[in-house]
């Protein structure tokens, strides 16, 4: 049984934009809002070189990392081909206008992200 922690309202996140969420440990989280008001959350750390995804350009259901333009998909947190690598994805609950995150996930031990695999 998940416990949901209220984060903000949907309107607090810019359309086709993101907000950064700080937490006590485990690193920042980026919450994204798409054009049709879906909300997604990923660890705010690109699997490539750790760039803050919350600062990227949001398009469709993905974000372009501001450092080297890797495209990370919201559904799986994984980079679009040919880049390889994934970042942790967080569950988001939308209750009307309220955005909540899963408390267990927030407090959980963050698994080390898969190392980025550049082409040999």
């Amino acid at each position: 049984m998940s416990q949901w922690k209220t984060l903000c309202r949907v309107a607090d996140i810019p359309k086709l934009g993101a907000r950064r969420v700080t937490r006590a440990s485990g690193g920042d989280i980026a919450v994204f809002r798409t054009a049709d008001d879906k909300v997604f959350a990923l660890l705010d750390r690109c699997p490539h070189k750790g760039g803050p995804l919350s600062q990227g350009i949001v398009f469709g259901e993905s974000v372009a990392c501001p450092l080297h333009n890797w495209t990370i998909g919201f559904h799986d947190g994984c980079a679009a081909a040919p880049d390889v690598g994934c970042v942790q994805k967080f569950s988001v609950r939308l209750d009307g206008d309220t955005v909540s995150l899963d408390l267990d996930e927030l407090n959980g031990v963050v698994p080390e992200p898969e190392p980025a695999k550049a082409l040999a």
């Binding site: 810019p14 700080t22 054009a35 760039g51 040919p82």
Partner: protein, 810 residues
Amino acid sequence: MKKMKLVMVGNGMAGVRTLEELLKIAPDLYEITVFGAEPHPNYNRILLSPVLAGEQTLDEIVLNPLSWYAEHGITLHLGKKVVGVNRRQRVVTAEDGTQASYDRLLIATGSNPFILPVPGKDLQGVIAYRDIADTNTMIETARTHKHAVVIGGGLLGLEAANGLMLRGMQVTVVHIMPWLMERQLDDAAARMLQKSLEDRGLKFMIGAQTEALLGDDGGRVKAVRFKDGTEIAADLVVMAAGIRPNVELAEKIGLHCQRGIVVTDTMQTVTDPRIYSIGECAAHRGIAYGLVAPLFEQAKVCATHLGEFGIGRYLGSQTSTKLKVTGIDLFSAGDFTGGDGTEEIVLSDPYGSVYKKLVVRDDILIGACLYGDTADGSWYFDMVRERKNVASIREHLMFGQAHLGDTGHAGNNLASGMPDTAEVCGCNGVKKGTIVKAIRERGLFTLDEVRKCTKASASCGSCTGLVEQILMATAGAGYSAAPKMKAVCGCTDANHGQVRDAIRERHLLTIAEVYAQLNWRTPNGCASCRPAINYYLISTWPHEALDDPQSRFINERAHANIQKNGTFSVVPRMWAGETSAAELRRIADVVDKFKIPTVKVTGGQRIDLLGVKKEDLPAVWKDLGMPSGHAYGKTLRTVKTCVGSEWCRFGTQDSTKMGKELERALWRMYAPHKVKLAVSGCPRNCAESGIKDVGIIGVDSGWEIYVAGNGGIKTDVAQFFCKVGTHEEVLEVSAAFLQLYREEGWYLERTVHYVGRVGLDHVKAKVLDDAANRQALAARLRFALDGLPDPWFEFDKAAVDARQFEPLTV
């Protein structure tokens, strides 16, 4: 819903590419069935020559293994030649009786080799050079026999001859035309090629006409006889005298054929709207293409129509040629034969085996033929395709792009001579071996694919020529470069010019309108097109189109430069590089208060505060109390100045004052790319005006203005634009030039590339020759900049979303 049925006849590169494109955009639309006459899955036909030469194996050239077909649920009938189509019942029938019904039919039957109609053509040991079976026959024959004759001294014939020679045969090439590769080379280059191949051991009979092939008692070929009665021994005869579109099936089922199956710009046959055709069998505007790049363009277009997106037209391609014989560099493109109304620029060094011919008509490069040194082939090809005016670089043209100065790859400009360990792309640290490996293993064909997979030339692009050379050498003759006018990005087929025109002509004011009117494939674009469209809107319709911060790169959204660790840098504006004790004190206090780790003087005569946390940015700006330096944007950056006549004992003009006037007039100006100015007070030019977008140099009688210089990736010296007498004139000319660039430049195009594209004469005509237009341009810039806010202080007016500086917490 029941899926529609798509049947493809032919299982070659163009056809399968169409399926790949189709699956990308409409994966669930069709139930797909493929018939292939050969018993192999789709392989890279271009690489048969390296296989013959023993440089690659057959396994390595398979593009789509059987598992690929299975994964995508494609029914594959290998080794089954289609012999009939009932167009009324829409059923395809193969030789063995296999049938498949269709809603759409794609005919991609490719081409057949042309077999000379001479006696003996059916003897054993007489083959064409077209597929895996032919290649295997050649490899087998080379083991047991000695003498080979290749009929046809074109691209394919020479590659076959070279391969057979490497496999130990004595090879004679018979060519009926007066010189080798007459469609790709002029006689001078062809003679050099012939000599170089003779040095390797090939024999040639040029101008010889084959009369008959003679057989032995066992029915195997033993000699070739010519019209003049001479005979030469031959255990193997390879016919490489050209290809013909394979229209056998199409003609049989009543499709209109003329030099191929006639198709429209959407690759639909003109006879039957349910039937499409693509590849070497299709005749588009009278041309059946035989190279891979045009066919892939066709594939893309065809897929969008099959996928029912209904967008995109194929408009034909320019092609270039490269011979795939290791160690021989040869390149040709466009119309290199010259003739009436053309001028030829020729460099010929027979001793050093270098020959270059460039053909120019009306100041436009229309063709190039290179032998021995092909480093600049792709550069010339680009100019041919873009119909670029070359008047201003004419005297340098022959000496190539490297002559214009490139940085970042250690002066290397010849891919063939580079070892695998040599670095090609200095930005991303990509070595030649990595690129070659990726091309071979992943079956890459285009520059874009290489960029995506290896990142080579994906950043600054200065090594693009090298990467294209490696691509040509590895992927081979079938490669030719990207389409003439590049689309803005993968979301659309429209190019930058078309988008700009549409926004202006149709008075479009929002990104959504642009996407709807120009049939964008994606709902809200991508990180490439959104910033471009946003710029086009606000520069075309200032004070009318609304800036969209979410369509800007983070630097222009946060008004600071993001650094590798996610912190930001802050550069306050110092007008023309002049500061004061009060400003420096405030800067020092800010550094202490916010514990800013690094303070650095920039190249543009300002101070950079590095390592500022994002949440501190508003307070840092407020405490600094200085205007935004816009060091983060596609904007006017700085006006660099020397000390000038106020202090300098050599100074002839007050450059600092001029610089301040320019910077105050132009700051906050967004442009297609960053813009840098400089003003020097005398011709000693201490402010380095010669490498700026607009560079001003004071002389005794006034000011010289230079434009389109660049000190970056490619050092380009600014071109002299005009000389004027007064400050007011400097301001007006500079403003008019920059406004023209703002209106006509493509996003991320620096002034040097913009002027290179439209020609300096065009810019002069608009800015210098037409005083009324100059004033109008300057007035439009003043109007655009009038009342623009300083984003560091006027958040609301500048559409700065202040929420970004406050993180949420849980």
